[in-house]
């Protein structure tokens, strides 16, 4: 899988590098749940700035990641949603569930620091 998982100050940072196939999204989902249950980070920040499309499958998968990491005590924040992707999500009637959003890494980490 092409997505690096980076540990920083007990937070897990996940910079998605490009458009992901459904298979790669599922792998990322599995890898994140494994990391969270084994490493117990304080939270997860996923950067989607380089993602080409946020379609139903991607929004669902990321929301599901948020659901499970929250259950494990590590909330997820999605950062870097470009305005055209946000507008497209809205027009498609899609919304993230169980994840917070923030403009960038720094703000995402602030959200997580405030929620623990």
């Amino acid at each position: 899988m092409s997505v690096p998982l980076i540990e920083h100050d007990r937070y897990l940072l996940v910079p998605i590098q490009s458009g992901l196939t459904d298979g790669e999204l599922s792998e990322l989902h599995a890898a994140l749940l494994r990391w969270v249950t084994e490493q117990h980070p304080r939270g997860v920040v996923i950067d989607v700035a380089l993602l080409d499309v946020l379609d139903a499958y991607a929004v669902r998968t990321l929301s599901d990641v948020g659901h499970w990491t929250r259950l494990c005590g590590a909330p997820t924040v999605i950062v870097g949603i470009r305005s055209e992707l946000a507008q497209a999500m809205d027009r498609f009637g899609l919304a993230f569930q169980e994840v917070a959003t923030a403009p960038n890494w720094a703000e995402g980490l602030k959200v997580l620091a405030g929620s623990t």
């Binding site: 196939t21 499309v53 139903a56 055209e84 507008q87 009637g93």
Partner: protein
């Protein structure tokens, strides 16, 4: 990318890699045809949804991208074809949150909502053909603009 109304891009769709390729080609064509960045994203996302439907329900099919030109407007046309099982109830398939496989049925209603034209022809046992179009008004040629 050079492309006129008569040329078309034919994309085979049978894997999740093909879904990405199809939506990226769609975005490239929309950018080339000078659609706004938001429209490019809507088109790419709609292609992603219908390409995924092909892979899930029919396993393989094709997507054809072309530009249609009218006197005052320009359309990006997406035609998705497959020879899969067909859709039993098209009205139902276009309803929000309807799904029959892996909970991914958001695709069709979403694509219909964001595209300007959207039509489904489907026959059970024969396949499905979805035609969707996004239009933009033509920019005035610079020579037509008279200075005040």
């Amino acid at each position: 990318m050079k492309m006129t109304g008569s040329e078309e891009t034919l994309l085979p769709v049978s894997s999740d890699q093909d879904i990405i390729r199809a939506r990226q080609k769609g975005r490239d064509l929309a950018a080339w045809a000078d659609f706004t960045v938001v429209d490019q994203t809507l088109i790419a996302t709609a292609i992603s949804e219908i390409a995924r439907n092909i892979v899930i329900y029919a396993r393989r099919g094709t997507i054809v991208l072309t530009i249609e030109e009218e006197s005052d407007r320009l359309g990006l046309v997406v035609i998705a074809r497959d020879e899969g099982p067909g859709i039993r109830d098209v009205t139902q398939a276009l309803r929000n949150h309807y799904t029959t496989s892996r909970g991914l049925g958001m695709g069709l209603p979403g694509a219909r909502r964001v595209m300007d034209d959207f039509a489904i022809e489907s026959k059970l046992g024969e396949g499905t053909r979805i035609t969707m179009k996004k239009w933009r008004t033509k920019h005035l040629p610079v020579t037509d603009v008279t200075p005040p």
